[in-house]
């Protein structure tokens, strides 16, 4: 059922997406690139930030609330609460820094296992900064192998050139919609938000204002 609330445009489903990975791999740039096509340098994220985007995938109007987390170790506990009920998780590494790739399996996949409360949540592996091909330290084959091990998709992209940026989020959304339990959650979230139109409208506006 199609719903609308307050001043927001109507949407059919609402999903929560979480961006995680080492500090400096380009999580915030990836998100800003997806939202507004901006490619400027961004200050390091402090704690957590979020942005809201509405798009149409597979004939459905989706509202994505995308949480962008700071990757420093000191912020890990603070951000662990945002894993709760996330339908999609994007694990980001920097193809020019092997350490960020290694930490996906040694650190971040363990965080997902520990804090995620959604057994069906969809994960996607994203290798960023492919525009720096001469500095590449992690091959695509290695990325595919890890993606297979973690049971998720792999996409290589560049926040700077916007290569594959939209595909990351669209592929993730499509995978989420294929899971019946996640589809139900996304639909439920929309119905719930109808009951608080003022709050929802305000949230959307704030989403646009956030730096």
């Amino acid at each position: 059922m199609s719903s609308s609330s307050g001043q927001s445009s109507g949407y059919d489903l609402s999903f929560k997406i979480l961006l995680i990975g080492d500090s400096g791999v380009g999580k915030s740039s990836l998100l800003v690139s997806f939202i507004s096509s901006s490619v400027e340098d961004l200050s390091p994220t402090i704690g957590v930030d979020f942005k809201i985007k509405t798009l149409t995938v597979g004939g459905k109007r989706l509202k994505l609330t995308i949480w962008d987390t700071a990757g420093q170790e000191r912020f890990r506990t603070l951000n662990s609460s945002y894993y709760r009920k996330a339908q999609g998780i994007i694990l980001v590494y920097d193809v020019t820094r092997r350490e960020t790739f290694t930490n996906l399996s040694e650190v971040w996949s363990k965080e997902v296992e520990l804090y995620s409360t959604n057994q069906d949540c969809v994960k996607i592996l994203v290798g960023n900064k492919v525009d720096r091909d001469t500095e590449r330290a992690v091959s695509r084959e290695e990325g595919l192998a890890l993606a297979k091990e973690l049971g998720c998709l792999l996409l290589e992209c560049s926040a700077k050139t916007r290569e594959n940026v939209e595909q990351c989020f669209e592929e993730l959304a499509l995978k989420i919609m294929e899971a019946p339990s996640l589809l139900e959650e996304g639909s439920t979230a929309v119905k719930r938000s109808v009951l608080k139109p003022k709050q929802e409208s305000q949230a959307s506006q704030n989403g646009g204002c956030c730096s």
Binding site: R74, T77, L78, S81, Q199
Partner: protein
């Protein structure tokens, strides 16, 4: 005396149920004339509302029950045929071939088909004695019950009743204030009675409450529940065979770990006979939790220093937070004392060091030397940060003791997330970053932002190769950029990190304003406990106890070729049902599934027979369906009936709900037991009537 005797004789002659007799006495208390007495008595009997009429005079009825018990003992002629009664009872039990029913009310109901005068008198006597002795669960009683492999299904059933009844109550306080009924009809009657005798009732209720909380058995249960050394309610759990399953099932159904405080609490509460007493015991538990927090004592059966496990029930998460806060308070005391003693040591060292600088270097107090040669005390330094040295002074970098983040249960996480979404606030991250900067400055005098970034966010610093050579490090003439540089994003104008750095003062973590206030957090939890809705509390306890039973049963049944298939079908059913948010509609089905598992453990022959009958029934219909699908069909139908009954008008709620519930219950039993109604049919009225008549038992 004579009046009591006459009443008893009259009851014996008419063979009224004991509840009816109580109703008569209650009505007499109102001093109605004979005509009104007959008029009111008739409707009560017809609609089965005797328990409601009884409830305002619970205390009085208890005393009369005792008096009546004495009266029974004054009839020595009946003692002569005691042996005959026992023989008859044995014959009845032998004929049923079932485990003895521990519910006396049910036993009395079962005796009805075999009624005769002497047997009736004996059952009345047993009934009264059972009520007197079993009305209050005790440590001994519960300890004896742990000899059963899994908690009795009667305990789970009582929690199920409480979940359903609790969902109709407004609050826990309403349950305690309620005269004893749980249905809207009873509540209305109770209110009208209160209007008539407001003062008397108020006094009686206060008396009952204080009597309950000071009752010896209650005190003993509380002490055993919170005894950190005791093994109260501990069962044999085979942890070798299915260790993963044992830990994963409670989390799959959002329950609590086996042998945790939540599970033990569930087992105690499930042994109380009325919702009101369950509520009173919970209030007693909350009072004990306050006492433990005040005394900074850990809660037993809960980890002492773990962040909340979001896959367990909220109640368990909240217990985890309480223990974690106790750990943090203890640590802060130790850290503060350590810092204070270091500062005192430093003060005394200063006097001595004016004479000899070697003295200062020998003391355990940590110093950093500035470029000016001045020694500055390091505050809150934890351990060296690898082999890092400060860029300007060359002194070793120390990781500071830092404040820990917030302890958030699932409800607070949701609130925090909604707050961030609504306001766009990044306050939590900034507060923590500022706190870290202040702690770092206190532990590393002479540091600059670049030093902090190298420690907190290594990817934002790039070393120059030249900096690895010692001679370059100590060459004060060398410009900063020769040793390395911040990332481009960190150098960017308007970067909040630099602004925070300029703002921060050197303050060790234990002296800072707390990022997470333990006292505030625990006070919030304890208040939430006092305000917790009955259905929320009993629902979590129900699921936790369910998980315990299945967790213990799994290693016993998984290897059994006859039962493993059915067991795993039952397990799959409960996981699916519990992950749904509509627990109220499913508790009856879950109790039946639990009873099936209990039967497989305690009465395997009968369970095997049941399975074969189910298979035969399936074969006869020509539809090859798995036992799980049959279970799902049966329980699914039950849910629908319950849903319909809930939507009925309130005025008809009690009667129709009971009627449909009984009907569907019988249908389910009939289906489960296939084509042998004479044998399997007889337990149904007993079990159902025990639920119906359970409420009058106070």
């Amino acid at each position: 005396m004579e009046e009591e005797q006459q009443t008893f004789v009259s009851k014996a002659r008419t063979a009224f149920h004991s509840a009816a007799a109580k109703a008569e006495r209650v009505l007499l208390d109102f001093k109605s004339d004979r005509e009104d007495h007959d008029k009111q008595s008739s409707p009560n009997t017809f609609t089965g509302q005797q328990p409601e009429a009884e409830s305002p005079h619970t205390d009085e009825n208890d005393s009369k029950l005792h008096s009546e018990s004495k009266h029974i003992k004054w009839r020595p002629p009946h003692l002569g045929i005691k042996q005959d009664w026992q023989d008859k009872i044995k014959n009845i039990r032998r004929g049923r071939k079932e485990v003895e029913d521990t519910d006396k009310v049910g036993d009395a109901s079962m005796a009805i088909p075999f009624y005769d005068d002497n047997l009736y008198l004996l059952n009345v006597k047993n009934d009264l004695e059972a009520k007197a002795s079993e009305a209050m669960p005790s440590v001994e009683g519960l300890t004896a019950a742990t000899k059963d492999p899994i908690p009795p299904s009667s305990v789970l059933k009582q929690l199920a009743i409480a979940v359903e009844a609790g969902s109709k109550a407004k609050s826990m306080k309403d349950v305690i204030a309620s005269p004893g009924g749980s249905s809207p009809a009873r509540e209305r009657a109770g209110l009208s009675l209160s209007a008539v005798k407001a003062l008397v009732l108020r006094e009686k209720e206060d008396k009952l409450t204080s009597e309950f909380t000071s009752n010896e058995k209650v005190v003993q249960l509380i002490n055993s529940l919170f005894d950190p050394e005791g093994d109260f309610l501990r069962r044999k759990i085979d942890s070798n065979l299915e260790e993963t399953a044992m830990t994963s099932l409670p989390r799959d159904i959002h329950g609590a770990p086996p042998e945790s405080l939540v599970v033990k609490l569930a087992e105690i509460l499930g042994n109380y006979k009325t919702l009101r007493k369950m509520a009173l015991f919970w209030c007693r538990v909350v009072a004990e939790l306050r006492k433990l927090w005040f005394e900074e004592q850990y809660l037993p059966g809960v980890p002492q220093d773990e962040i909340p496990d979001l896959k367990s029930c909220l109640l368990y998460q909240q217990f985890q937070v309480i223990n974690c806060c106790i750990s943090r308070k203890r640590f802060r005391i130790i850290a503060t004392e350590s810092l204070d003693s270091m500062m005192m040591q430093a003060n005394s060292d200063i006097k001595e060091s004016t004479d000899c600088s070697a003295e200062a270097s020998a003391s355990p107090v940590l110093y950093a030397r500035l470029n000016s040669g001045e020694l500055v005390l390091r505050l809150g330094a934890d351990h060296p940060a690898g082999d890092m040295t400060l860029l300007e002074t060359g002194e070793p970098v120390y990781s500071p003791i830092t404040q820990e983040g917030p302890l958030l249960t699932e409800d607070l996480i949701r609130e925090t997330e909604e707050f961030v979404l609504r306001t766009g606030s990044v306050g939590a991250g900034c507060s923590q970053l500022l706190s870290d900067m202040q702690a770092f400055k206190a532990a590393n005098p002479g540091c600059i932002l670049e030093d902090f970034v190298r420690w907190h966010s290594p990817p934002d610093w790039t070393d120059n190769e030249a900096s690895t050579e010692d001679s370059d490090v100590f060459d004060s003439g060398e410009p900063l950029s020769a040793r390395g540089q911040l990332s481009r994003r960190m150098q960017k104008e308007g970067n909040l990190w630099r602004e925070l750095w300029e703002t921060s003062k050197p303050v060790p973590a234990v002296k800072q304003a707390p990022l997470f206030d333990e006292d505030l957090a625990v006070e919030g939890i304890l208040n939430a406990f006092e305000e917790m809705h009955p259905s929320d509390l009993f629902g979590q306890l129900f699921v936790s106890l369910l998980g315990l039973g299945f967790g213990i049963a799994e290693p016993m049944l998984s290897g059994n070729s006859d039962f493993s298939k059915l067991f795993y079908d039952c397990k799959e059913y409960i996981i699916t049902a519990c992950q749904n948010n509509k627990l109220n509609e499913k508790v009856d089905g879950l109790v039946q599934v639990y009873e099936t598992v209990e039967k497989m453990l305690l009465n395997p022959e009968e369970a095997l027979k049941m399975i074969k009958q189910t298979e035969e029934s399936t074969t006869v219909t020509g539809e090859p369906r798995s036992p799980f699908k049959r279970l799902s069909l049966i329980f699914g139908g039950k849910d629908k009936l319950l849903r319909k009954s809930v939507s009925k008008d309130q005025t008809n709620d009690e009667e129709k709900s009971g009627r449909q519930s009984f009907s569907s219950f019988f249908d389910s039993k009939s289906s489960l037991f296939g084509k042998k109604p004479p044998k399997s049919g007889s337990p149904s009225p007993s079990e159902k009537s025990s639920i119906d008549t359970g409420w009058p038992v106070v």
